[in-house]
């Protein structure tokens, strides 16, 4: 049985350039693009109005954006290597305000000359921890509430300074694991408790552009230029299945709240919803033929499950599950 999703709303030209990243909170969606401004659109109102613009956030444009699941903390990384942290105002307006920066250039605790410029980022459920990758393959975990000048965990994925570019990263919801995907096709899972590499997961060969832990943290999905979504068991590090059907580079992955469905977006503009149980694609959407850079489920509210896609067409497109009867 396939699932039906309908386009409920499109915010045309939400940005003036490619939207490279989006992040969902319970009430809003944040979007970052090649321009300097981050936009916030409300998702709890029918017209998805623009409720806030964080202007001049990243002068050279912003490539990665993450928000904590509790919707309190967000982080963004610019093309210039600048990392900004945001938090929802405690004054009660619900607006985002600056919560400082992350100075990655400072010397790390091991004195290796800094953690290196950040590329991909992920936030823990409460927003306290931030995981990041670097150009030379390092993976770091930071405590945003503690000393931001030092890394909590520092993982090397190659000999010092020569690892493969970390294109993507994710933190499990319980904060226990960090996963990273690399240019070389490597996927690593690190145990944040022990500070060690847990698994090196084989199978993709080509650059891995998205990794995502399932809500319960038992599965890890990874995908990229091979066009295949690989599913791994995080308990034993086993490759438990592949989802095939995309015919282009996969740029983004996201699990729904229950962990039953996986959403994927690809370079040819197609978004697919996969049933994990049946290991099959249950819906395909191609509202655009331009690259999708980011796709996200909206956290489930009273309404039907929804997701949002964004990319080179500069728009935010919202889909809602069609109810049968």
């Amino acid at each position: 049985m396939s699932k039906q999703y309908l386009t409920t709303h499109t915010v045309d030209n939400a940005h003036i350039t490619d939207i490279f990243s989006i992040a969902a909170t319970p009430t809003s969606i944040l979007s970052a693009s090649g321009s300097s401004t981050i936009h916030v659109h409300a998702t709890n109102r029918d017209s998805f109005p623009l409720v806030q613009s964080l202007s001049s956030a990243h002068k050279l444009g912003c490539h990665h954006l993450a928000a904590s699941r509790n919707g309190k903390i967000a982080a963004s990384v610019g093309f210039g290597g600048d990392v900004k942290i945001w938090k929802v105002s405690e004054a009660g307006s619900g607006e985002w305000e600056s919560f400082g920066e992350l100075d990655a250039a400072k010397n790390s605790e091991k004195g290796k000359g800094g953690a290196g410029e950040l590329w991909a980022i992920a936030l823990s459920e409460d927003g306290q921890y931030l995981a990041s990758t670097t150009y030379d393959g390092r993976v770091n975990v930071w405590d945003l509430l503690g000393d931001r000048g030092v890394t909590l965990r520092e993982y090397e994925t190659g000999s010092a300074g020569s690892g493969s570019f970390g294109l993507c990263v994710d933190l499990s919801r319980d904060g226990k694991y960090t996963a990273s995907g690399h240019q070389s096709g490597a996927v690593y899972v690190f145990n944040n408790d022990s500070g060690r590499l847990q698994y090196s997961l084989p199978g993709l060969v080509k650059p891995v552009r998205a990794v995502a832990f399932s809500p319960a943290g038992t599965r890890l999905a990874a995908a990229g230029d091979s066009g295949i979504i690989a599913i791994y068991d995080t308990k034993h590090g086993e490759h438990v299945g592949n989802l095939t059907g995309h015919t282009a580079w996969i740029t983004s992955l996201d699990w729904n709240d229950t962990g039953e469905y996986l959403l994927s977006g690809a370079f040819d503009g197609k978004a697919k919803v996969w049933s994990i149980e049946r290991s099959a694609c249950v819906a395909t959407h191609s509202e655009t033929d331009k690259a999708l850079w980011a796709i996200r489920w909206l956290p489930k509210t009273v309404r039907n499950e929804m997701f949002c896609t964004a990319g080179a067409n500069r728009s935010l497109t919202f889909y809602r599950e069609a109810t049968g009867a």
Partner: protein, 630 residues
């Protein structure tokens, strides 16, 4: 000896840099002096000295003696005679060397090896005569090369006709010496980052044969020098209707080169007359390159991917040709793409910062910003060659068309031509003996994976196609091809693999049905003609791959080869056609297949029982031989 003599003669024949000496060949004004020789008092001295040497050499020729030229080394100050003919290669080089700086080098780059060598010799010659370089009328030329039906008039009245006969391009003259430029019928100008690409296009005469009319090709070999940019700027301002396109790599350096042509370089900001505001960046762009990766998926629905590949406007503009031109390729061009290096990323961020910093909100700078950001996002770059390999540049055509449409310019870079030019420029790949052995071995063993990999590697290395590599790989002794080897051993899959690298004439002619332009029909015809050459290639005994497949009785392979146009009628040195070999070796199932085929095809023949009867005879008479031989 004769060859050498000839080369020296031709070298003198075109030695127009010394016009006063009487070597001017008016029909071949390949390049001209940058200065008026009559104004230089030392010139007379130089000429008389050269004449002395030449007179002595003419005398020597009459007396059938070795030719000599005195040459004084600047380092030691000693005079020595350069002889011709000589036992030493280096003397041959020096003997021919009596001409003009960079142009000297480019008349025969293989001979001289490097520009530096020429520079040194020029200085030596000047030293020998005790004169300055300028007395020899040798000036430092601009780095840029130009090709196209354009003539430039120099201040002294001489003409520089920029259409080289040797496929090398002509050195750009010093912009200060130009009094006028005649564009003739040229309709466009293409600035190319890479010298190799430029040479390829010139060699294929792209500037003459493009379907959108004649044009001009220019390269400054990487980062452009000031005098090349000044020259282009002069054209730019003198001919505001001449569209200018930039062809650079999809990497940060390519973008920077494009920007340097367009906006000038940072270090030479005081040079006002070196910018090209109208320069259009035709690519390759992220969409061109990334669109191609779809073809890397064998399961992709071709029509669908083609449609998705193009934005609606592109689709409209290139609809005639886009869809049929997307064959599934065994080579995914994605493999030619490389990850960005740390230095690339740094440069990209710097360029991004500079472009955004200017606060320039025009569409073009937004375009640059986007391309740089996408480059960083994907961490991927691609060279021009990568798009050549992809073999389908129609997206560019669409883009060039759409951008020019805005500027109501009729000229469009017909990238189909670019593609063909790029294809033609590829020389026969040079394979070492070991590489050939390996290829032959892999085909013999039916090791498809390794064979694919090796073909791919070699194709990338030699900037050619797998088909070229296959054509070049022939066993030293028997001249057998990889196809022979795979066919003889009945590796039907390997045969399929090899055949898949060859152009598919059937599909191509379907393409021609689209009104895409007669050019395509021509190229389709060309491939139709070209393909049988490989599939029907015979070894030193005249056997084709089909002969060998029949010899081994591999029916599958025989069918495959026949279906791809292998000729069943080619006879080997012993006058045997493939059918004979099958019959001799008692592979009756193969014989039956042939006969069934021929019954279908040659109805009349079959009625008379001609072939079947003949085969029957052969079978009877040769059966024993086959057994003893087998």
């Amino acid at each position: 000896m004769e060859g050498l003599l000839h080369s020296s003669r031709s070298a003198f024949g075109s030695s127009s840099p010394l016009p006063a000496v009487g070597f001017v060949n008016p029909s071949q004004p390949d390049f001209v002096l940058h200065q008026d020789s009559r104004r230089n008092p030392q010139t007379g001295v130089a000429i008389s000295k050269i004449e002395e040497i030449l007179v002595a050499n003419i005398d020597a020729l009459k007396e059938v003696q070795a030719l000599t030229i005195p040459l004084r080394s600047r380092r030691t100050g000693r005079m020595r005679l350069v002889r011709f003919p000589s036992s030493r290669d280096s003397d041959a080089k020096k003997f021919i060397d009596q001409r003009n700086h960079r142009a000297i080098y480019y008349q025969n780059p293989e001979l001289f090896g490097s520009q530096r060598y020429v520079d040194e010799l020029v200085d030596d010659i000047a030293f020998t005569f005790g004169l300055g370089r300028d007395a020899l009328n040798i000036v430092a030329a601009s780095k840029g090369l130009i090709a196209g039906a354009v003539s430039v008039t120099i201040n002294n009245g001489s003409m520089l006709y920029c259409n080289p006969h040797d496929g090398q391009g002509v050195l750009l003259p010093d912009v200060r010496a130009i009094s006028s430029v005649n564009l003739g019928a040229t309709k466009w100008l293409l600035v190319i980052e890479k010298e190799a690409t430029f040479r390829g296009l010139v060699a294929s005469r792209f500037h003459e044969t493009s379907t959108v009319g004649p044009g001009i090709l220019v390269t400054a070999k990487g980062y452009p020098d000031l005098s090349t940019r000044q020259f282009l700027h002069k054209l730019h301002t003198s001919f505001p209707i001449l569209p200018m396109y930039g062809l650079v790599d999809f990497d940060p350096d390519g973008v920077k080169i494009m920007l340097t042509y367009k906006n000038g370089s940072r270090s030479l900001q005081h040079e006002q007359n070196a910018t090209l505001n109208r320069l259009l960046w035709i690519g390759p762009r992220s969409n061109d390159i990334l669109g191609d990766h779809l073809r890397g998926f064998p399961s992709a629905n071709i029509d669908e991917t083609c449609v998705l590949n193009h934005t609606p406007s592109d689709q409209f503009l290139s609809s005639q040709s886009s869809a049929p031109l997307c064959p599934i390729r065994e080579f995914s061009p994605v493999d030619v793409m490389l990850p960005l290096k740390a230095a690339d990323r740094k440069l990209a961020v710097r360029l991004l910062s500079a472009t955004i910093g200017k606060g320039d909100q025009c569409i073009e700078s937004q375009d640059v910003v986007r391309e740089l950001q996408v480059m960083l996002m994907l961490n991927t770059k691609a060279e021009i060659q990568a798009v050549d390999e992809a073999g389908d540049l129609t997206a560019w055509q669409g883009k060039a068309a759409s951008t020019t449409a805005q500027r109501h310019q009729p000229a469009v870079i017909h990238t189909k031509d670019l593609e063909r030019g790029a294809k033609r420029k590829k020389m026969a790949p040079k394979l070492s003996e070991e590489e050939i052995d390996d290829l032959i071995y892999l085909a013999r063993a039916g090791d498809d994976a390794d064979l694919t990999e090796m073909l791919q590697e070699l194709a990338v290395r030699d900037a050619s196609t797998a088909a070229d590599i296959l054509a070049a790989a022939r066993e030293e002794q028997t001249k057998a091809t990889c196809l022979h080897m795979a066919a003889a051993n009945g590796h039907a899959k390997t045969v399929t693999l090899i055949l898949s690298y060859l152009p598919v004439p059937v599909k191509a002619s379907v393409t021609a049905a689209a009104p895409a332009a007669s050019e395509e029909a021509n190229s389709a015809e060309a491939t139709t003609r070209a393909e049988p050459a490989y599939i029907n290639a015979h070894n030193s005994f005249g056997n084709t791959a089909l002969h060998w497949a029949c010899l081994g009785g591999h029916l599958d392979t025989v069918k495959l080869l026949l279906s791809r146009g292998a000729s069943p009628a080619i006879a080997n040195d012993k006058d045997q056609i493939p059918l004979d070999l099958a019959a001799f070796n008692n592979h009756m199932h193969v014989v039956d297949h042939f006969l069934a085929q021929s019954r279908d095809i040659e109805g009349e023949n079959a009625l008379e029982d001609g072939l079947a009867k003949e085969a029957q005879d052969l079978d009877l008479t040769e059966d024993k031989n086959a057994e003893s031989g087998g």
